[in-house]
């Protein structure tokens, strides 16, 4: 009753009308992202061991200060984040079977993390701010200060009136009998 037309005329996934599936499709299914394939238990085990190794790397990185080799104090954080991303990729690819899924599922998974990149890009604006984030900054030479250093907070004073500007223009005398707007 269902799908007799699909079986007869064939769809993208079931080319050909034969209902027997052609010998269970053993090894004949195309690897073009239109079918869901499942990994073996061995792949699960290898992925798990790789995750454990990477966890050891992450914790070991905490005790080894890499800024002795590279003149940048943020190198530890960068490598820790790279290792965390690699771990996440292992979990997503093998445990969540994104690699064996169709391309649509892969796109959905990628979009979530692309959104994270977009959000981070939107918040880069904070790196340009010179005001402290609510409380006093930790050090005077932090990026929060502008190019002229920490500027003292001065109450706003309008500029003194210059000769020739409209502020110092002579006020024309009020015409006799002219009603002023206030009345």
């Amino acid at each position: 009753m269902n799908n007799t037309m699909a079986v007869t005329f064939g769809t993208a996934r079931n080319p050909g009308g034969d209902g027997h599936g052609g010998g269970s499709g053993h090894g004949k299914r195309p690897h073009d992202g239109t079918f869901i394939q499942h990994p073996t238990v061995g792949l699960y085990g290898i992925t798990y061991l790789a995750l454990l190794v990477l966890l050891g790397v992450t914790v070991g990185l905490y005790y080894i200060d890499l800024s002795k080799f590279v003149p940048w104090h943020g190198i530890n954080l960068l490598i820790a984040m790279v290792v965390a991303v690699v771990k996440a990729l292992f979990v997503i690819r093998n445990f969540m079977n994104v690699q064996g899924s169709t391309k649509l599922v892969w796109l959905w998974a990628a979009l979530g993390f692309i959104w994270l990149v977009l959000m981070s890009g939107m918040f880069l604006d904070y790196r340009t701010r010179t005001n402290p984030l609510g409380w006093q900054p930790e050090r005077p030479n932090m990026i929060q200060t502008g190019p002229r250093g920490v500027e003292p907070h001065v109450e706003y004073q309008p500029a003194p009136a210059q000769p020739g500007s409209p502020a110092t223009a002579p006020v024309p005398p009020a015409a006799a009998g002219e009603a002023s707007p206030a009345h």
Partner: protein, 306 residues
């Protein structure tokens, strides 16, 4: 029969409109119900996965916002974050990460067991996953109890007092020099009276902004130099973010435990959701792996600041 062959045979059987429901064949073909809007089982499974990933994308947005807040404040106050993270126990955090990674592995083995129609294997793997997540929650409970004992929670935050307690517990050492004492569990006497055993008095040169009133859970900060007050406020940011993120993560773990318990109950009752189709288990597995990924990022960002 390899799993690929099993799925292909199921797809072929379903498109044939196979009327016989051999749902309880052990090692046989799983014939999920093909709903009429789908062409074949492959498309149906794909739609299940896309739906679950849609939910996971919303969860990425949920946690992503908190991670963003963390990044902004960490770049703003790096020294404060470096100082405040010493209250988090790295051995406990590593054990937690190990537990979650292993639970991810056992979850995927449970999905595998369901795909091969092995009912008791499925139940056993799910049980081990629940056990490991309970271990995670138990260790979290220990950590939270320690934080509350130190007074580092929103509402009673007093960073100088917490620093003093840290020095008392670590014999005056801090940072990498303090070894072997964390994780500690406060004794009953300490919990009851609020006094620690090696009390640092204000005359002690190691005293860091010690206030004159006795330490207690609801003592507010009084008479501090203004820089220490700001320092306390910055550290409070770190702990607010810590509690928000790990608390939200713990709620997700509890929900995951409930879901896995439901799967075990359905499997015990030979419900068609388990016997006819492996996709429900696979979708709960996707959720669990996502929770694991969040912790994979949380652990180095919160615990391993150097």
């Amino acid at each position: 029969m390899s799993l690929r062959a099993v799925t292909a045979a199921a797809s072929a059987a379903a498109t044939r409109g196979n009327g016989d429901h051999h749902a309880d064949d052990h090692g046989g073909v799983m014939t999920p119900t093909l709903y009429h809007q789908f062409e074949d089982v492959e498309q149906q499974n794909e739609s299940y996965l896309v739906g679950m990933w849609t939910f996971l994308v919303t969860e990425i947005m949920f946690f992503g916002a908190l991670f963003m807040a963390y990044s902004i404040y960490r770049t703003a106050y790096p020294a404060t974050f470096l100082d405040a993270h010493k209250f988090l126990s790295i051995p406990l955090g590593t054990v937690n990460t190990l537990a979650l990674l292993t639970s991810s592995f056992t979850m995927v083995m449970a999905v595998n067991a369901n795909q091969h129609k092995k009912k008791w294997s499925l139940i056993n793997w799910l049980g081990v996953t629940i056990l490991l997540s309970c271990v995670f929650l138990g260790i979290k409970g220990i950590e939270y109890t320690t934080k509350i004992h130190e007074g580092l929670y929103p509402g009673s935050f007093n960073y100088a007092r917490a620093n003093t307690m840290y020095l008392e517990h670590h014999d005056g050492k801090a940072g990498h020099e303090a070894k072997g004492i964390y994780p500690y569990f406060p004794s009953v006497q300490e919990l009851a009276t609020g006094y620690s055993l090696n009390r640092i008095t204000p005359e002690d040169p190691r005293a860091v902004g010690v206030e004159q009133t006795p330490a207690g859970p609801f003592t507010s900060y009084q008479g501090a130099p203004s820089d220490v007050e700001y320092w306390s406020k910055r550290a409070q940011l770190f702990f607010s973010i810590y509690f928000a993120m790990t608390g939200l993560h713990a709620v997700h773990i509890i929900i995951g435990i409930l879901m896995m318990g439901t799967l075990i109950l359905l499997a015990l009752k030979n419900h068609p959701y388990i016997t006819q189709d492996y996709m429900p288990t696979e979708m709960i597995g996707l959720y669990w792996h996502f929770v694991d990924i969040v912790w994979i990022f949380l652990f180095p960002l919160m615990y391993l600041i150097s």
